[in-house]
Amino acid sequence: MSTAVENIPGSFEAADPSLESQMTLSMGPQHPSTHGVLRLELKLDGELVVKATPDIGYLHTGMEKLFEYKKYQQGIVITDRMDYLNPLGNNLAYVMAAEKLLQIEIPERAQVVRVLMCELQRIASHMVWLGTSALDLGAMSVFFFCFRQREKILNLIEAASGGRMTPSYFRIGGLMMDLPAGFDNRVRQFMEDFPDALDTFETLATGNTIWQSRTKGVGYISKEDAISWGLTGPCLRGSGVGLDLRRHNPYTGYETYDFEIPVETDGDVWARFRVRMRELYESHKIVRQALERLKPGPIKSDAPKVVLPDRDDMRKHMDSLIHHFLIVAEGFNVPEGEVYMPIEASKGELGVYMRSNGGPKPDRVHFRGPSFVNLSALPVMSEGEMIADVVAVIGSLDIVLGEIDR
């Protein structure tokens, strides 16, 4: 008993392999803390993880193949189902890739609404991360407080788009429709209540000594390793690299918003936790700024061959009716070429590689999901840790299997 206490974190050593004391444990794919259908093949020496091998693909549905058989505008609904905690981010990356190929300008109001909705979605996504990763470590009540906040955001997204989990709100050339009347006031109300909820989380999680001892010094990854393994988003910023594509490869006008990039240097689960917590405040700040900029104006770009016309126009103008029919029935041709469109999703760099051969359907669409890349670094973070810490590491990576397996 006394030796076990002396040995607490970090000082465990693997037994001599010749003693054949190692065993292999299959963790998942139905394990509750693997956030979906992830299977880990763990080689264990007692409680110590000697080797971890993630096994993915249980949720593979061939989405990238499906894109090639759908028109550009039909592909948007597929993206909702990839990272299902951040569907608006996926929509944005996809439509912006198509817009880059089409080279169309997006009106100011649509840009502001995109930023507003994406930041709300980022908060919602981080709420699920905080709730579930706390649940994995045994803190039950954080989960309920988080999902209460997320519910409010989902209601807002539903009010704007009609869908809670699958909004498909952004369309090539703008938005599906304008925000409903009184939407800004509902967001303001949420913005006013949210700081109190943040205080609750800080008390429940940040100030919790059990939480701290479960996360500090666990799942370390160095700055060099993090870059080499391609980590992005909060995982990279937790290792001391202040990279945020909203600042460094700006899109939808993010360069004009005032926000900070939270960076922690410890590279452990605690650092990644702190980065995400601080990001919640920054997203809150951006939503406030976006609300101030929300001025009346067009929400679709002036590209009649690509953007569906308004219902009203279709009743008055013959050409609008023709365009509507052609876009729906035949789609629109996208100029030949290839683009890579990266955005800062809630989990890291979400890149869309889109290639067109000039027709109404893409030739190839590839999603570079942040979860896919971040998960590949799991062995580096979890080898040499205890088996219970693997759960903490997975929670800190914030993975969504829908995006990993596609």
């Binding site: 993915i56 693909g57 593979h60 061939g62 990238e64 193949k65 499906l66 058989y69 880059k100 190929l101 080279q103 390793d225 870059i227 080499s228 393994w229 391609g230 992005t232 990279l236 690299v241 990279l243 460094h248 490869n249 070429g337 290839e338 683009v339 890579y340 990266p342 760099e349 890149g351 590689y353 290639r355 030739d363 190839r364 590839h366 570079r368 896919f372 890349v373 590949s376 670094a377 397996d405 596609r406």
Partner: protein
């Protein structure tokens, strides 16, 4: 907008003119076509001397069974120092769909290359663990090839 990206291309040309087979500038992105056998040296050089310390993405692409070279492998390089992006492209014919691995340059290439192997059948030479990643290990065919039917050849059952 892309002048700075062309500087990296010039650097490559100065280092070894055989490295740059073709340069394309479109939609604000620069694509450098690199001969397959040189890709590892090119990546090493760009990482160490041009600051491209991150491989953002690696993906395969099938131009269709009639085309030769049929396959493309796209490397999307990114830098956490100067935040520039560069695309490298390797063209591969169907009978020699082989390219050296870049896992020695960026560790993240591991899963990306496995995915490309899984879905296109492109072989990455000297890859430490080239197995299928998304599809089951006994899956027949390469799902993202253009001649692979959308619904597959027959319903797959796991035995």
């Amino acid at each position: 907008m892309t002048e700075k990206l062309h500087e990296y291309v010039e650097m490559l040309k100065v280092r070894d003119s055989a490295w740059v087979a073709d340069v394309k500038d479109a939609f604000g992105e620069v694509t450098v076509t690199v001969p397959g056998e040189a890709i590892e040296s090119v990546c090493h050089y760009l990482r160490d001397d041009a600051g491209f310390d991150m491989l953002a993405d690696l993906c395969g692409c099938d131009r269709g069974p009639e085309d030769d070279p049929r396959f493309e492998v796209n490397y999307h390089l990114f830098s956490t120092i100067h935040y520039d992006r560069l695309r490298l492209k390797v063209l591969l014919s169907e009978d020699a769909a082989k390219v050296p691995t870049v896992t020695g340059v960026w560790k993240t290439a591991d899963w990306h290359e496995r995915e490309t192997f899984d879905l296109f059948g492109v072989v990455f030479d000297n890859h430490p663990d080239l197995r299928r990643i998304l599809l089951p290990s006994d899956f027949d065919g390469y799902a993202l090839r253009k001649d692979f039917p959308l619904r597959g050849y027959e319903p797959y059952s796991m035995n």
